[in-house]
C-alpha cells in the first residue's frame, strides 16, 4: 500500500500537464487527460482496497518524506490507509471521475476549458490529500487546498461579478473556520506532542482525560473548522452561493469533495470526540439545527440549484447529528450514499439548465420530462433516494441516523436523543416535500416557458452516461450497510460498518446494532415513521403542485410574512452584512484615515514639526558674524563665572 500517494500524484500530474500545455492541446486531449488522471486515482484506491483486504484489514501508516522537521516536532508526508480513508478515497475518486466525464460535455464550449480541468484535478488531489493524510497538518494542507480550489472554481467565470464575489466569500468564510481549526491543532500538539492520528489515538486512549476541559476545547475548536468546511450553521452561508460556479463544480463541492471534509475529520478524530460528551452534544445539536434550518429554507426557493444547495447543508447536518451521537459509521455511511445521489441531482440539474439555455428559475420550467427523459429519471431517482423512499440508498442511511437518535441517551441530557429524533423526522418531511416540489415544478407540471422560443433538449451522451452510473449508486449504495432489520430480512450482512469501524471510536451511548427483540420493535417503529413521513412529504408536494396546481399562490398570500422570511433565507446574509461586513469596512477606513494617518502619523509629523520649529527659533542665533559669536562666548563665560560663584557661595 506504499503506492497510495500515487492517488494524489496522478491528479497533480494532470494539473501540471493541462496547466502548462492545455492551451496548445485539443479539448478532447485535455478532457481525456484530466479524466484519466482521476481514473488513475480510483484505480490506485481500488488496488489499495484489495491489498488492505488481503492484509487482514490492518491499518497502515506510510511515511513518504519529512515535511516540517524540527524535532520533537515532526510533520511528514505520511498517509494512513485504513477502512475509513479507503472508503473516502474510493467514493471521492469514483464520483469525481464521473463528474469529470460529465464536465467534458458540459464545458465543451467554454473558453477556459484547460484551466477548468486543471483546477478540477487539483481539487481532487487536495481532497485525496485530506482523506489520506496520517496527520492533522497534512490534513490541513488538503483542508485549505479544497478551500482554494472552491475559490478558483466557484469564481471560474470571473468576468461576472457574482461568481467572483461568491468565490471570495467561500474562501473567507472557510478561513474563519480554519482559524478555529488551527487553534485546535495547536492545542493538540501542546497537549499530546504529536499530530499523527495513530499516535494521538494511542495517547488519548491511554492517558485518560475523558471529559477534561482541554479535550473538550480541542474537539470544539476542530469542530469550528468543520462548521466552516462542511457548511454548518452559522458558517453555511458560502455554500448556497457556491452554485455560481459551473454546475459540475457544484456537484463536486456538494457531493464528493470539500463539504464532506468536516464529517470525515470528526470521524477521524472520533477517539477524541468520544472523550467529551459536551462537544459531542454540541456537534449533534448544531447538526440537527442546521438540518432543519436549511431544509426549511429549501421549501420555498425557486432556483433549481439553490434548493439543492440548501438540501446539501441540511444533509450535512444529518451527518453531524449522527457523528455527534457517536454513530460515526452511520455518518460516514450517509456521506457515502449522499455522494451518489447529490452528485446525481446536481448533474441532472446541470442537464436541465443545459437543456433550457441556462434558465435556473423553476417557475420558468415545467413539463420537461418529455423533452429529457433520461434526465427526468436521473433526477427522480436522486430525489427518491434523498427523500428516503424505501429501498433506495438514502433511505437506509438516513433511517439509521434517525434510529440512532431515537435510541441514544446522552449522559448530560438524556432527552436529547428524542428531541434530535423529532427534529430529524421533521427535516425528513421537509426533504421529501421540497424534492418532489422540484420534480413537479421542473418536470411534470405544464410548461411555463415560451415553447416557441425555447426548445428543451436532452443532454449529450457524455453527460447522460455518467449520470446513469450515479443513478445505480443512488439506488444500490445502501445495500452494503443495511440496518439490522433489513439485513436480516434480505440476508445481506452489513459489511460497511465493520469495514470502517476499525478507524472509529466505539459508539459510546448509542446502541451498536439492534440485538434484542425490544431493539427490533424500536427499529420497526422508527422505520415505519420514516416511511410515512417521506410519503406524506411526497403526497403534499403532489397535492399542492399537481392536484391543486396554482393553490400555492394563495398560500403565499395567506402566509405572506413567514413565506418572505423563508424566501429570504431568514435574512442571515443581510444580518452578516449589516453587523460584520459593513461596519468592518467602515472600521477599516476609519482606522486607516483617522487613526493611522491622523493620530499615529500625525504624532510623528508633529514631533518633526516641533523640532523643525525649534530650529527656526534658534536659527537667528547663527548669524555668521564673528562679533556676535564673540558676544555669545563672552556672555557665556560671564554667566558661567556667576553660576560658579553662586554655587561656591551656597557651599
Amino acid at each position: 500500500m506504499d503506492y497510495i500517494y500515487l492517488a494524489i500524484v496522478f491528479p497533480l500530474l494532470g494539473l501540471l500537464v493541462n496547466g502548462f500545455f492545455g492551451r496548445r492541446m485539443t479539448r478532447r486531449a485535455v478532457g481525456t487527460i484530466a479524466s484519466l488522471a482521476i481514473l488513475g486515482s480510483f484505480a490506485v484506491s481500488l488496488v489499495a482496497f484489495f491489498d488492505y483486504l488481503d492484509a487482514g484489514e490492518a491499518a497502515r501508516s506510510i511515511i513518504l518524506l519529512p515535511w516540517i522537521s524540527l524535532p520533537p516536532l515532526e510533520i511528514s508526508y505520511g498517509f494512513l490507509v485504513d477502512g475509513l480513508s479507503l472508503v473516502m478515497a474510493l467514493a471521492v475518486s469514483l464520483v469525481s471521475f464521473l463528474i469529470h466525464v460529465y464536465s467534458t460535455g458540459y464545458m465543451a464550449d467554454d473558453d477556459g476549458y484547460p484551466r477548468y480541468f486543471a483546477y478540477l484535478n487539483l481539487f481532487v488531489a487536495m481532497m485525496l490529500t485530506l482523506v489520506l493524510a496520517d496527520n492533522l497538518v497534512l490534513m490541513f494542507v488538503g483542508w485549505e487546498g479544497v478551500g482554494l480550489c472552491s475559490y478558483l472554481l466557484i469564481g471560474f467565470w470571473y468576468k461576472r461579478a457574482a461568481p467572483s464575489v461568491a468565490g471570495l466569500k467561500a474562501f473567507v468564510v472557510n478561513r474563519i473556520g480554519d482559524f478555529a481549526f488551527l487553534i485546535g491543532v495547536f492545542l493538540v500538539f501542546w497537549l499530546y506532542g504529536t499530530f499523527r492520528f495513530t499516535e494521538l489515538r494511542q495517547s488519548v486512549e491511554t492517558v485518560a482525560l475523558a471529559g477534561h476541559l482541554p479535550i473538550t476545547l480541542i474537539a470544539l475548536f476542530l469542530f469550528g473548522g468543520a462548521i466552516g468546511k462542511s457548511a454548518q450553521f452559522p458558517l453555511y452561508v458560502w455554500l448556497p452561493d457556491a452554485m455560481e460556479g459551473p454546475t459540475p463544480v457544484s456537484a463536486l463541492i456538494h457531493a464528493a469533495t470539500m463539504v464532506t471534509a468536516g464529517v470525515y475529520m470528526v470521524s477521524r478524530m472520533s477517539f477524541l470526540y468520544s472523550m467529551t460528551e459536551v462537544a459531542m452534544l454540541v456537534v449533534a445539536c448544531v447538526g440537527a439545527f442546521t438540518a432543519i434550518f436549511a431544509a426549511s429554507i429549501a421549501l420555498v426557493q425557486n432556483d433549481i440549484k439553490r434548493v439543492l444547495a440548501y438540501s446539501t447543508v441540511s444533509q450535512l447536518g444529518y451527518m453531524f447529528l449522527a457523528a455527534g451521537l457517536g454513530a460515526y459509521w452511520i455518518a460516514i455511511f450517509h456521506l457515502f450514499t449522499h455522494a451518489f445521489f447529490k452528485a446525481l441531482l446536481f448533474l441532472a440539474s446541470g442537464s436541465v439548465i443545459h437543456g433550457v439555455r441556462g434558465e435556473m428559475d423553476m417557475r420558468k420550467m415545467g413539463g420537461l420530462a418529455k423533452y429529457m427523459p433520461h434526465t427526468y429519471w436521473h433526477f427522480l431517482i436522486g430525489a427518491m433516494s434523498i427523500s428516503g423512499i424505501p429501498l433506495l440508498a438514502g433511505f437506509f442511511s438516513k433511517d439509521q441516523i434517525l434510529f440512532a437518535a431515537f435510541t441514544s441517551r446522552p449522559g448530560i441530557w438524556p432527552h436529547a436523543g428524542m428531541v434530535l429524533w423529532v427534529v430529524g423526522v421533521v427535516t425528513a418531511l421537509f426533504t421529501a416535500f421540497y424534492m418532489f416540489r422540484q420534480i413537479y415544478l421542473v418536470f411534470l407540471t405544464k410548461p411555463r416557458f415560451d415553447t416557441d422560443e425555447i426548445h428543451p433538449h436532452e443532454a449529450p451522451a457524455s453527460m447522460i452516461v455518467p449520470n446513469w452510473f450515479l443513478a445505480v449508486g443512488s439506488v444500490f449504495a445502501g445495500y452494503i450497510g443495511l440496518p439490522a432489520l433489513f439485513a436480516g430480512i434480505l440476508s445481506l450482512p452489513n459489511v460497511f460498518q465493520p469495514f470502517v469501524s476499525g478507524a472509529l471510536a466505539g459508539a459510546g451511548h448509542v446502541a451498536e446494532a439492534a440485538h434484542g427483540a425490544q431493539e427490533l420493535i424500536k427499529e420497526v417503529l422508527t422505520t415505519s415513521i420514516s416511511v410515512v413521513v417521506a410519503l406524506v412529504g411526497l403526497g403534499l408536494a403532489f397535492y399542492l403542485y399537481q392536484v391543486r396546481y396554482g393553490v400555492t399562490e394563495k398560500l403565499k398570500k395567506a402566509f405572506a410574512a413567514p413565506y418572505r422570511v423563508l424566501l429570504n433565507k431568514y435574512y442571515v446574509d443581510e444580518f452578516y452584512n449589516a453587523t460584520f461586513v459593513q461596519p468592518g469596512r467602515v472600521m477599516c477606513e476609519q482606522l486607516s484615515r483617522a487613526v493611522d494617518l491622523g493620530i499615529i502619523d500625525g504624532i510623528v509629523n508633529a514631533v518633526a514639526f516641533v523640532i523643525g520649529a525649534l530650529g527656526q527659533i534658534l536659527r537667528p542665533i547663527q548669524t555668521g558674524f564673528v562679533r556676535n559669536y564673540a558676544w555669545y562666548i563672552g556672555g557665556g563665560a560671564v554667566l558661567l563665572v556667576i553660576l560658579l560663584w553662586l554655587g561656591l557661595g551656597a557651599k
Binding site: W67, I68, S69, V141, R593, V604
Partner: protein, 533 residues
C-alpha cells in the same frame, strides 16, 4: 568541480560577497553615463556572480550551528574595533536572500529606470554591499557602520527615482530610522564602556555575549536597541514611515526595502537583543508580543482600506513582520517560534519582494497605482494572473507554499508562550485572506472595461526570468523546507537555549520525551510532578 569547491572553501567567501558589489559599483563610476546598456548588464553580471559565489557557502555540507566562514582582522586597535564577520543558521538565508534579490532587482529595473542609470546601478550595488555586511558583521561597530550605510543608497533611490511625494518619503524614512539608530549607537557605546570597565575595551559580539551586562543595564540597552530595530521592522506604532517610503520608491527600491531592510530589524532582534540582553528580552516579551499582535491585526485592518496597490502591499508588511516579531519573542520551552520567525523572514522577503515586482510590472505599463484603475486583468494577462495568484496565496499563508511553514511554526510557538496572544494572532490569517483576495478580485476579476487595460501585454521573458525563480522558491520552501530549517534550527536553538538558561534559570529546555509529560503536568495541576513545572 571538486577543485572549485575546495578552492572556494578556503576563500574568504563572506568578504568576497560583501566587496564584490562594491568593486562593481566602483568600476561603474569609471564608465561613461551614456553607455547605459553596458552599465546595466555589467551590474547584473556582477550581482549574478556574487550570488553564484554565495552559493558556495552551502558547499562542503558544513553545519551552521556556530559561526562559520569567520574572518577576523584587527582594524582600529586603538578602540578595539575589528573586522569580524561570520555566518550561522540565523544569517545564512538572509545573506543568500540578499545575493539573490540583488540581480532580481537589477533585472527588474532595466526598462523601468530611464534616467541617470549609471548612478542608479551604482546605488543598487552599494545596497547589496551594505546589506550583506549588516547580516554578517560580528563587531557592533562594524554592524553599525553597515546598518547606517544602507540608508544612504536607499535615501537616494527613493529621493531621485521615486514617484510623487518622493522627497517627503525619503526624508521621513531617513530621519525616522536615524532617530532609532542614534539610540542604538548610544547603547553600543554603553556596551563598549561596560566592556572597558571589565578591562576589555571591545565591540566584539562574541566577547560581549559571554560577558553579559547586569540586568538593570540590560534594560536600558535593550530599550535603545529595541527602538532602532522596532522602527526598522516596523512594529506598531513605529510603522508610518514604511507606507510612504514603499509607495514612492521605485520598484527595485521597494523590493529591497521590504525584502531586506525590514529584515535588518528582525535579524537585529534575534541576533543582538536576544543574545546580549536575555533577561531584558524575556521580561519585555509579553509587551513585545502584544505589540506584535497589534501589528498583525491592525496592519491587516488598515490594509483592507487601501486603494493604492503598492501602499496595500507595503502595509501588509506590518502585519507579516508582526508574525516575525511574535515568533522571536515567543519564549517557552521550545525554539519553534524563533525558528519560524527566522524562516518567515526569508519567506516574507521572497513573497513580498515578488508582490512588489508584480505591482511594478503593471505600474510600468500603466503608470498608476490606483487599484480602481485596473480590473479584468485575468483575461488580458493570463501569465501575470498565474504568477500573481501563487504569490498572493503564498502571502495569505496557504499550506504547501512558503508562508504557511513560517506562520504555522510561529503561531505554534506563540501559542505555547501565550495562548491568548497566539490565538488572537491566528485570526490574522483570516484578515490576510480578506484584504489580499479583495485586492486580487478588484485587479483581476470582472470585465476588462478600461480600454487602456485591454491592450496590456503579458509578462515578457525578462519579467518571467526574475519572477519564476521566486515562485519556485515559494514552492520549494513550502513543500520541502527541510534544508532551510535544518540549517536554521541548531543556531536558533543555541540562541534560545542560552536566553532561557540565563533569563529563567530553572526552566529546562524541552526534549522530545519530556514534553508531553511536562504539558500534561501543567494541565493537571492536581498532581504535583516536581518543582520546575
Amino acid at each position: 568541480m571538486d577543485v572549485l569547491v575546495q578552492m572556494m572553501a578556503n576563500a574568504p567567501l563572506l568578504s568576497i560577497i560583501i566587496f564584490l558589489p562594491l568593486a562593481g559599483a566602483i568600476i561603474i563610476t569609471l564608465m561613461s553615463p551614456a553607455r547605459t546598456h553596458t552599465i546595466k548588464w555589467f551590474a547584473f553580471w556582477v550581482s549574478v556572480v556574487t550570488f553564484g559565489i554565495s552559493l558556495f557557502l552551502l558547499a562542503g555540507g558544513g553545519s551552521f550551528e556556530h559561526f562559520s566562514h569567520v574572518e577576523q582582522y584587527t582594524w582600529l586597535p586603538q578602540i578595539g574595533v575589528s573586522y569580524h564577520i561570520g555566518v550561522d543558521g540565523i544569517s545564512l538565508w538572509l545573506v543568500l536572500l540578499t545575493t539573490l534579490l540583488l540581480p532580481v532587482s537589477i533585472l527588474s529595473s532595466f526598462s523601468a529606470i530611464t534616467k541617470r542609470e549609471k548612478e542608479y546601478y551604482i546605488l543598487l550595488l552599494l545596497m547589496g554591499f551594505a546589506l550583506a555586511g549588516t547580516f554578517v558583521a560580528l563587531d557592533l561597530f562594524l554592524f553599525f557602520l553597515f546598518w547606517e550605510a544602507v540608508l544612504i543608497p536607499m535615501y537616494l533611490l527613493i529621493g531621485i527615482w521615486g514617484s510623487g511625494r518622493r522627497i517627503y518619503a525619503a526624508t521621513k524614512f531617513v530621519l525616522y530610522t536615524v532617530v532609532g539608530s542614534f539610540f542604538m549607537l548610544l547603547a553600543i557605546i554603553g556596551l563598549y564602556v561596560y566592556a572597558d570597565s571589565l578591562g576589555h575595551a571591545t565591540f566584539d559580539f562574541i566577547w560581549l555575549r559571554s560577558h553579559l551586562a547586569p540586568p538593570e543595564l540590560q534594560t536600558w540597552f535593550f530599550l535603545a536597541f529595541f527602538l532602532a530595530f522596532a522602527i526598522k521592522v516596523p512594529l506598531f506604532p513605529f510603522h508610518t514611515w514604511l507606507a510612504d517610503a514603499h509607495t514612492e520608491a521605485p520598484t527595485a527600491g521597494s523590493v529591497l526595502l521590504a525584502a531586506l531592510l525590514l529584515k535588518m530589524g528582525g535579524y537585529g532582534f534575534i541576533r543582538f537583543c536576544l543574545t546580549l540582553f536575555p533577561e531584558a528580552s524575556v521580561s519585555a516579551a509579553p509587551w513585545v508580543m502584544a505589540l506584535a499582535v497589534i501589528s498583525i491585526i491592525y496592519g491587516a485592518l488598515v490594509c483592507a482600506a487601501q486603494t493604492d496597490f503598492k501602499r496595500l502591499i507595503a502595509l501588509s508588511s506590518v502585519a507579516h513582520m508582526g508574525f516575525v516579531m511574535l515568533g522571536i519573542f515567543s519564549f517557552a520551552n521550545t525554539s519553534i517560534g524563533q525558528v519560524g520567525a527566522t524562516i518567515q523572514m526569508v519567506n516574507h522577503g521572497v513573497t513580498t519582494g515578488a508582490l512588489f515586482l508584480l505591482v511594478g510590472v503593471v505600474y510600468e505599463r500603466r503608470h498608476t497605482r490606483e487599484i480602481a484603475q485596473y480590473g479584468g486583468l485575468a483575461a488580458v494577462m493570463p501569465q501575470y494572473y498565474n504568477v500573481f495568484l501563487i504569490t498572493m496565496l503564498a502571502s495569505v499563508g496557504l499550506p504547501a507554499l512558503n508562508g504557511f511553514v513560517g506562520e504555522f511554526l510561529i503561531l505554534l510557538g506563540a501559542f505555547r508562550a501565550d495562548w491568548a496572544l497566539g490565538g488572537l494572532a491566528t485570526f490574522g490569517v483570516v484578515l490576510a485572506a480578506i484584504y489580499l483576495l479583495t485586492m486580487f478580485r478588484k485587479v483581476f476579476h470582472g470585465e476588462c472595461t478600461n480600454p487602456e487595460n485591454r491592450k496590456l501585454l503579458d509578462l515578457n521573458a525578462r519579467e518571467l526570468g526574475y519572477l519564476v525563480p521566486l515562485v519556485l522558491l515559494m514552492l520549494w520552501i513550502g513543500l520541502y523546507p527541510k534544508p532551510y530549517l535544518g540549517a536554521i534550527k541548531p543556531a536558533v536553538d543555541n540562541t534560545v537555549k542560552s536566553v532561557m538558561r540565563i533569563a529563567t534559570g530553572s526552566i529546562s529546555y524541552a526534549r522530545s520525551g519530556e514534553k508531553a509529560a511536562a504539558v500534561l503536568a501543567q494541565v493537571q495541576p492536581a498532581e504535583p510532578t516536581g518543582g520546575d513545572a
